[in-house]
Subunit: 357 residues, 2 copies
């Protein structure tokens, strides 16, 4: 399938193969900073946008055309999996997605249903198909899912949280109830990612957005094993897998051994340190501070160069921000960021080739 790709830079970078220049995409690139996105959002609520394949496909394609990224990522939300397990999901303006009835009792946990991906999440698979068709090989398409720990945290808290007291209570007082949920989620997420690959996703990313809410010891107990389980199940699809365990830099070494192709590095981490820790076992993605995009093209280029220098033209780097692009980001700066990566990384490669000739 990837043979038809006109731009397969991302695929090759994920596999640590040589590339003419570093591929670049942006987490949340199909989002609120784009006026074209906001125009659709004005007429539809967030969950309708996720659930309507035509809308999701249109939004997914926007940044490919507008800012020139080297990949599309399907427009969706990580919480569609718990929703498919029977949890009612609402979207509250300003608060983001909220579960009306968070998991609090044993009965709540027991009521969760096994997910039938094709029927419950068919709308995402349909959107992937539409995007693949529309892209017709211009750039690869990324599918994604939330990591078990992050999903469990949302399901118990009911929404984003500052201190995650509720999920921590479960973790400390009823760890078996939590690990059973994490097992359930691992299976559902793995099945979902496999289905996305079958539906056309050419790269897969697992978002463990709340990995940083665990102590390092608890990360090893309640997140890492489940990430590993998912990667092992999805690996046979042959689709490259990116794992983003946000703020879990303490565990890069361990993360490099779970079988993922790429680790995404938060902006709070030092990319050179991450590179040393993973010892060439995986490619790295990242990791410019999203706030750089509030400066100007000149400063953006400087930060891009600083980040590129960590790899010095060597393979195994997927350029990205170290976290999602912020809603107030000027579009021109997002474009300047993408352009700077393309130009500067090509320049570095050309210099390297001249030196080796």
């Amino acid at each position: 399938m990837t043979n038809e790709l006109q731009n397969d830079l991302l695929i090759r970078a994920c596999r640590r193969q040589n590339v003419e220049r570093t591929p670049v995409w942006i987490m949340r690139q199909a989002g609120r900073y784009l006026p074209e996105y906001r125009a659709i959002r004005e007429k539809n609520d967030f969950l309708t946008m996720c659930r309507t394949p035509e809308l999701a496909a249109e939004i997914t394609l926007q940044p490919v055309d507008i800012i020139g990224v080297d990949a599309a990522i399907i427009f969706s939300d990580i919480l569609v999996v718990p929703e498919a397990m029977g949890m009612s999901l609402q979207f509250h303006e300003g608060r983001g997605p909220v579960f009306e009835h968070p998991l609090r009792t044993q009965a709540d946990f027991d009521a969760l249903q096994r997910v039938d991906i094709a029927t419950e999440l068919g709308y995402v698979l349909d959107a992937l198909g539409l995007v693949r068709k529309a892209l017709s090989g211009r750039v690869p398409l990324i599918g994604f899912a939330g990591a078990p720990w992050t999903l469990a945290a949302y399901m118990v808290e009911g929404q984003g949280s500052r201190n995650f007291v509720e999920i921590k209570k479960v973790m400390y007082c009823a760890p078996k109830m939590l690990t059973r949920l994490l097992d359930q989620l691992s299976n559902a997420v793995a099945d979902y990612l496999i289905a996305q690959a079958a539906a056309g996703a050419q790269v897969l990313q697992v978002f463990d957005s709340w990995a940083g809410m665990l102590t390092p010891a608890h990360f090893h107990e309640f997140s890492l094993p489940y990430l590993k389980k998912i990667v092992e199940k999805v690996k046979p699809t042959g689709v490259p897998i990116i794992v983003f365990a946000r703020d879990a830099g303490h565990s890069f070494q361990a993360l490099a051994d779970i079988g993922a192709d790429v680790l995404s590095v938060s902006w709070e981490e030092d990319l050179a340190t991450a590179r040393m820790a993973v010892q060439g076992k995986v490619a790295l993605q990242g990791n410019v501070d999203p706030c750089v995009l509030f400066s100007n093209p000149e400063i953006i280029r400087k930060e891009v160069v600083r980040c590129l220098q960590v790899f010095g033209g060597e393979p195994g780097h997927v350029f990205n921000l170290g976290h999602g692009i912020l809603p107030q980001t000027p579009v021109a700066n997002a474009r300047a960021f993408v352009d700077a990566v393309k130009e500067e990384s090509r320049r570095t490669r050309t210099l390297l080739e001249k030196q080796s000739n």
Copy 2:
């Protein structure tokens, strides 16, 4: 002055001297989780409590009596320094302290005044005196201040922030304006800490609560040098200095060299890793997850033991949470935490002594 102390465990632990058991105190121990605090808070607004020496002293003493910690920490707020520089501070319920007119223009920056500690912050010094008298040597008294980076972030944002876009704009686009402010703040904070020592503080802590909002490279540029400057200026007082650079675990090695006596370790970091990084140059403080206090005394004791084991009875450990105690924490659990540290650390020491005899 410290000679009169009946309990000087904290002082000795800060200096990495032998102790019979590990001293313990809790960040935000004089705070909302205590009904006795809430009783005072109901009748007074937060800033009045800070500014009235009798109230501040009373609140400071509460946790010494109620939960039995090995130190008192003066009740105050890190934002009193920018306030003394001329910024109007308000306290909004639910949002915490807010600067009405955050620094945005060159003129805003230029308008900041040099602080005369004795006149502007005399109320804190008076409170320290009252507490010292009331304690009459029972436990040492800790003074504190905010770190320049964290204060600058608050002054530019105007309040706590999720992404710190405004201060980052200044950092990227006008770094000289920022470093000038950081210099000003370093001087004011150092003077303030020296004055606190003179007024009776027996240990000093610098809170860089937003250190984790900087990339590692920017932490080295915009936080570390200013922390170092403060420590160098305050060092001659002879009062032990604790530096809490929250979520800056990437820089433990560098932080161990700025001259501080103790580094406080966030709960998100691995204490054993921190210990290896600092190579015995400083004592370490921390680092139990504040959410553990929502479990029960048995689980709390298990986590306390896990944390104590990193030091295995060796000196240089100040027990604490890895961040401030949360407002909804049950008081009984805070007490169970303090008791567990006292009992378990004494037990470890006794075992060690038996082994060496």
